[in-house]
């Protein structure tokens, strides 16, 4: 009974990724994903299998799991996995399901909603306070080669066609 109830927690995750619950039944816990995970280069001691197991068992993924915060989308896990499970995409779906969104992601998507493209000056403006507070401005001398100004162009996106 508990499993049926808790499966509903993850229903949207499966919907978002296109995976089915049984697709994760093949994971036997070999931990090869953990052995190649970039996040472990940050000494965070993560095991991506935790997330697959939670989804398969119908349990809620731990909101504080470091992979939800630090996954770099490097796909090392996917390439190493005997089943090629796209763990970064599963993690992105779990984040979406749990409403986890950083300022950068919010502004990035905001730009796409407005112009259909990422307009970098807008991103810079909207995240300016964060960048100043977090000590990014000291890199400005190295960023001169990245600075160029152009006006935004609005393009249409006909999704769902």
């Amino acid at each position: 009974m508990q499993r049926i109830d808790s499966n509903e927690i993850n229903e949207r995750v499966f919907e978002l990724t296109g995976y089915r619950r049984q697709d994760f039944s093949v994971c036997l816990g070999c931990k090869i994903c953990a052995s190649v995970c970039t996040v472990n280069d940050l000494a965070l001691n993560v095991n991506p299998q935790d997330i697959l197991l939670s989804l398969f068992m119908g349990m809620e993924v731990d909101k504080g799991h470091p992979l939800l915060k630090y996954c770099t989308n490097c796909y090392q896990c996917t390439n190493a996995c005997p089943w090629g499970i796209r763990i970064p995409e599963v993690i992105r779906a779990v984040r979406e399901n749990q409403g986890i969104e950083t300022l950068f992601e919010r502004v990035f998507k905001g730009s796409i909603r407005i112009w259909g493209r990422v307009y970098e000056p807008y991103i810079f403006l909207k995240t300016g306070l964060f960048l100043a507070r977090e000590g990014y401005l000291k890199y400005m001398p190295k960023w001169t080669e990245y600075m160029s100004f152009h006006l935004p162009k609005k393009v249409k996106i006909k999704t769902g066609s």
Partner: protein, 226 residues
């Protein structure tokens, strides 16, 4: 040959240099790049909803209709997303680096060699992962450099992650991952990704990070320096 060209967001801004390099290399080689009209963002890695992401990228494939069946997208995140959205359709989506075989580049009219110079070719993540959208040859840059008498190092770090996608989120993570690559590099670091270029440059000490296209233009005599 005529290609439909998808520059992507960063190549119109922070990676303008990469965009200019790509356009110039293809122009020298006698190919035409036709910009996909009103192309939109590919979605990068910011969407948890796979369908939403694929719709964004798929829309660009639709916009390429009538231009060419061969689409090129230089940014690895863009080429990956477009390749996946394309699936088995009649279009061919390429990251330009997979076209850069020695034969393809032979039309560059090489004016300089690279004897005595050391390079660290760095591919990063999404050019070579996941398998389904990876470039087939992960020694393109090495082959070119060695062919001109240069030396390459860094085989063990060329596919490690620079942490670029965490750059504006958890800076310390990107710094640590990028420094791991920088510390193990030698000579000029060659990249083919706007995000890798920015992350490695930002956290470099004296190491120089350049786009592979800059090297191509240097040996072709189009640039005074690499």
């Amino acid at each position: 040959m005529e290609f439909a060209y998808y520059p992507g967001c960063s190549l119109t801004g922070s990676a303008k240099k990469f965009d200019k390099g790509i356009r110039r290399v293809f122009s020298i080689l006698g190919h035409t790049l036709v910009d996909i009209p009103d192309w939109n963002c590919c979605g990068a890695f910011e969407y948890g909803d796979k369908r939403e992401l694929m719709e964004l990228s798929g829309e660009n494939i639709r916009k390429a209709r009538g231009i060419s069946k061969d689409i090129i997208a230089p940014c690895p995140a863009c080429s990956r997303n477009l390749k996946e959205a394309n699936g088995d359709s009649t279009f061919n989506v390429y990251n330009p680096i997979e076209l850069f075989s020695l034969d393809f580049l032979s039309g560059l009219n090489i004016k300089r060699d690279l004897k005595g110079q050391v390079f660290t070719p760095y591919y990063g993540c999404v050019l070579i992962r996941p398998k389904e959208t990876a470039i087939p040859d992960t020694n393109v840059m090495e082959g070119f450099v060695k062919g001109l008498g240069g030396e390459t190092v860094g085989e063990k770090i060329k596919d490690r992650c620079c942490g670029g996608s965490q750059f504006f989120i958890n800076k310390w993570a990107t710094e640590r991952l990028s420094k791991m690559i920088l510390d193990r590099s030698k000579g000029i670091i060659l990249v083919f990704c706007p995000l890798c270029h920015m992350a490695l440059t930002t956290f470099s000490n004296k190491e120089r990070v350049v786009y592979f296209t800059d090297l191509l233009l240097y040996v072709a005599g189009e640039r005074a320096h690499i």
